[in-house]
């Protein structure tokens, strides 16, 4: 009987990402009792352990979290090392320019400006230490606020953020269109 609900449980834990979910949160969403939910988590944990899964369910500080199994670390290390582009993609540059001019800014706000999901570009920029978490927004879910780093200043040859050229007024941008006519093919984000 419990088996029927490990599906939804797995889906929830997967989507929750690195924050994880507490037994209470899970119980609430699954509309089960707390003890029942705990049993279900242990059941899913056992399933992962029994088959040669890539994932494991762990409990950290009261939160259940899906993680990769330690024995697969070698593959993740290879993944982390593989595709290292020497250039930033257009998407990453766009996100970086938004963060530079509008920091501190949350992911949702960045996505609002761009009109597209930007988690991949943000992950790239964080990975390259061009942006970093500078605080949390006082809003539901306390979203991360991003700002630029010293690496950013170095990379772009700036002494400080005040060295960033002032932006034209919105209304001026259209007049300058021809200056920026050369378009690159837009990569996916």
């Amino acid at each position: 009987m419990l088996l029927n609900v490990t599906g939804p449980l797995e889906a929830l834990l997967f989507a929750a990402g690195s924050e994880g979910l507490t037994t209470e949160e899970l119980a609430d969403v699954l509309q089960l009792g707390v003890e029942e939910t705990r049993q279900l988590c242990l059941e899913l944990q056992k399933q992962y352990d029994e088959r040669s899964a890539g994932l494991a369910l762990v409990e950290f500080a009261g939160s259940w979290q899906l993680v990769t199994r330690p024995e697969h670390a070698i593959y993740l290390r290879r993944l982390a090392h593989t595709p290292v582009a020497t250039q930033l993609s257009t998407a990453a540059l766009e996100v970086l320019s938004i963060v530079a001019y509008r920091q501190p800014i949350s992911r949702a706000e960045i996505e609002d400006v761009r009109g597209v999901k930007s988690d991949r570009a943000i992950a790239t920029l964080v990975h390259r230490r061009l942006i970093t978490e500078v605080g949390r927004q006082n809003a539901p879910g306390r979203p991360i606020l991003y700002g630029t780093t010293d690496t950013f200043l170095q990379t772009f040859g700036l002494r400080s953020l005040e060295d960033l050229p002032p932006l034209p007024e919105m209304s001026d941008v259209s007049l300058d269109l021809s200056l920026f006519e050369q378009r690159t093919s837009v990569p996916r984000d």
Binding site: A73, L93, S97, G115, R129, F156, L164, P168, V173
Partner: protein, 245 residues
């Protein structure tokens, strides 16, 4: 009336026409143009009554329908001495092709909507932070800050200025207003060339409303139109109460 709910959901005149065709279970290849035109005009009138702005495309389509309707009537009118040169072609043909093509577009849009809905049911997760697995993020070569400024400007150009959403709408001249205008002129002139009725530098919309106004006045038997020969200028003649031609 039911119009209010429906009107706003038509994405254009073709959409409205398709709706009428479906509603009356009409064969798209043999559209009873008089009926469809009548229904179409009723919708436009309803829109006017509700003070909804009528996009100029709807008015252009009205003119097209009326033109087709009149071309289909032509051979039966005894006062017209001969048929138009291309009268062997069904005057509805072009519209039918357009409707069929648009129907395919709606079909595809419905499929996409379904795909979008299905896709909205699946959730992904953010990529894992792989930093613990890599000793050091590779440094980027130095870049000019202008690269950044260019990126921002290009972005601003792509982003529609949603916060300044002032809408610029053309002047909408109602057919009624134009009928008044036409009558006023004819009261002075009694008869005149159709083009003389048009305001100077008239926009497409004005031309169309003038055309519709004249057709409406013909229907109400307040003016008649005469044409000396095919493709000659059309003359509009005022009929007042005493001189019914």
């Amino acid at each position: 009336m039911a119009y209010e709910i429906v009107l706003d959901t038509f994405s254009g005149p073709l959409d409205l026409l398709l709706h009428l065709i479906q509603k009356h279970e009409i064969d798209i290849h043999d559209i009873p143009i008089a009926l469809v035109t009548e229904q179409y005009m009723q919708y436009l009138r309803a829109m006017e009554e509700l003070s909804l702005e009528i996009a100029s495309e709807f008015i252009v389509m009205a003119a097209t329908l009326l033109a087709i309707k009149s071309r289909m009537l032509l051979p039966r009118q005894s006062q017209q001495q001969e048929e138009l040169p291309d009268s062997d072609e069904d005057p509805r043909e072009q519209l039918v092709q357009q409707l069929l093509e648009y129907q395919r577009c709606k079909w595809a849009a419905a499929r996409l909507q379904e795909l979008e809905r299905r896709q909205s049911l699946v959730f992904s997760r953010e990529p894992m932070d792989l930093r613990p697995y890599t000793p050091e993020a590779p440094p980027l070569p130095e870049m000019s800050m202008w690269v950044l400024v260019d990126a921002y400007r290009a972005l601003m150009r792509r982003v529609p200025p949603q916060h300044q959403s002032a809408q610029i709408t053309g002047t909408v001249i109602s057919v009624e207003e134009m009928m008044e205008w036409v009558l006023q002129r004819l009261q002075r002139w009694q008869r005149c060339n159709f083009y003389d009725l048009l305001p100077v530098d008239s926009a497409r919309e004005e031309l169309v409303s003038t055309f519709l106004a004249v057709l409406e006045l013909v229907k109400e038997r307040r003016v008649v139109c005469t044409q000396a020969s095919p493709f000659a200028d059309i003359e509009v003649v005022l009929l007042d109460g005493r001189a019914t031609a």
